[in-house]
Symmetry: C2
Subunit: 224 residues, 2 copies
C-alpha cells in the first residue's frame, strides 16, 4: 500500500491483510510507529497500555514482577515475533500485567491500542488472530510455570552444569544439548528449551562450542 | 429445540445459540452426554481429549501435576461454569495438559470434542467464544501463579491465621475478610480471593462466622 512503511511487515503477520478494508489498513499503518530501544530499556511497564509490539530486530523479554522486585521471565521475542500482552486494554480477557524490556539493542514497531482495537472490533479475522496468539502464549507460559513450580528439569540441568564446571574448571561446558540431555536422562528438545530459558535469565550464553556460564552464582542458586 | 435436553443450558452459555444453523445445534445436542461424578473422581486426565465440561452441579477442580505427583490448583468451577482446557485437541494453541477432578459429587455435561470442533470450524462466534474463555482462564492462572511464585500474600494470610489460632485457640478465626485485610495491610478483594483459593486447597472453610481452619498442618506449611 502506498505511503505505508509497515505494509510488508503486516502482510507477513496478518495472513488476511489483503482482505482488510483499505481504511482499516490505513488506520493500522498510521497508528504504527517505529521505536529503537537500548539494551536494558523498558518497553512496557505493567498496567500501561503500550499496544502491540512487533519486533523488527534485537530481542525483547516479557516478564512478571513482584512487589518486592522479584522477576520471572515468561518468554523472549525475536525478529518477527509479536507481543500482545502489552495491549491488554485491547483484549478484555487479559487482566494481568506484564513488563517488557529490550535485552539487546532492539527496534520495534508499536501499534497503538486504539487503532488495534478499532480494527479488531470491525474484523473478525483480526480478533481471532489476537486471541489465538494470546492462547499460544498461555501455553508458553504454562511450560515455564511448570518448570519453575515443579523444579525438576531446571534444577537437574543447573546442577549438571555446576558440577561439570567444578570438576573440569573453566566457564564453558563443551557438550551438545543432545549430550547434556543424555547425561541427565531427559529429552534434547526439553534441554534446549531450558538452556534457552537460562540464557534469557542471563545465566548462560549458548554457542556452537557449548554452554558458557556467565553467572555462576545464579546457576548455583538454581542448582541447590 | 425439540428433543434436545441441553438446549436451555447451551442457550445460557452461548449468546449466539439461536443464530447457529439448526444442524449445528442438533450436532451439539447429540454430542453432549450428562455424567455424574463422585467426590474425588477424575473427570479428565492430562493428554486425553475429554471435551468441553459444563458444570451442572457440584464443584470441579482444574490442576496441573508434576511427574513426582505434585499438584497445583489452577482454579475451581461451580454450577454454570465451563472448562475448555480439557478440550485442548479442539483449540490447537493449547499445548499443555491439565487434570480435572470432582471435589464434590458433581453432575456435568460433556460435549465431545469432535462435535465441538466441527461446529467451531464452521461458526466464528463459537470459535471466538472458545478463545475468549481460554484467555480469561489464562488471566485466572496468572493470578494463581503470581501468588505462588512471589509468595507474599498467601504466606502473609496463612501466617496471620496460624498465629490467630495459636493465640486464641479453637479452629475458627472469627474475623471478616475486611478485618483480616486490615491486619495484614492488604486489600479486602485480594484477601477474599486468596481465602477462596485456600478453601479450594482444602485448608479452610469460609462461612459468615469466619474462617474455619480444617487442615492446620497445611496451613502451617504455607505460613512458614
Amino acid at each position: 500500500m502506498e505511503g505505508c512503511s509497515v505494509d510488508s511487515v503486516y502482510r507477513k503477520h496478518f495472513p488476511f491483510w489483503d482482505t482488510l478494508p483499505e481504511d482499516d489498513r490505513r488506520l493500522l499503518c498510521s497508528g504504527t510507529r517505529e521505536v529503537s530501544y537500548k539494551k536494558g530499556e523498558a518497553i512496557h511497564d505493567g498496567d500501561d497500555c503500550t499496544g502491540a509490539i512487533f519486533v523488527k530486530s534485537g530481542c525483547v523479554r516479557v516478564y512478571i514482577l513482584s512487589d518486592e522486585g522479584k522477576e520471572v521471565t515468561l518468554y523472549r521475542l525475536f525478529e518477527g515475533d509479536v507481543c500482545l500482552l502489552a495491549a491488554s486494554c485491547v483484549i478484555q480477557a487479559i487482566t494481568f500485567d506484564v513488563y517488557v524490556e529490550a535485552t539487546e539493542d532492539s527496534e520495534c514497531y508499536i501499534l497503538n491500542p486504539k487503532a488495534f482495537s478499532d480494527v479488531a472490533d470491525r474484523n473478525t479475522d483480526m480478533k481471532l488472530f489476537a486471541l489465538e496468539l494470546t492462547v499460544e502464549r498461555f501455553s508458553d507460559v504454562m511450560w515455564v510455570i511448570q518448570q519453575i513450580l515443579f523444579m525438576s528439569l531446571d534444577r537437574r540441568i543447573a546442577l549438571f552444569l555446576y558440577e561439570e564446571l567444578s570438576a573440569r574448571g573453566g566457564d564453558t561446558v563443551k557438550l551438545t544439548h543432545e549430550q547434556i540431555a543424555k547425561y541427565i536422562s531427559s529429552a534434547r528438545e526439553a534441554v534446549s528449551r531450558m538452556l534457552k530459558y537460562f540464557e534469557a535469565e542471563g545465566i548462560v550464553e549458548l554457542s556452537r562450542s557449548g554452554v558458557k556460564v556467565i553467572d555462576k552464582k545464579k546457576l548455583k542458586a538454581k542448582a541447590l
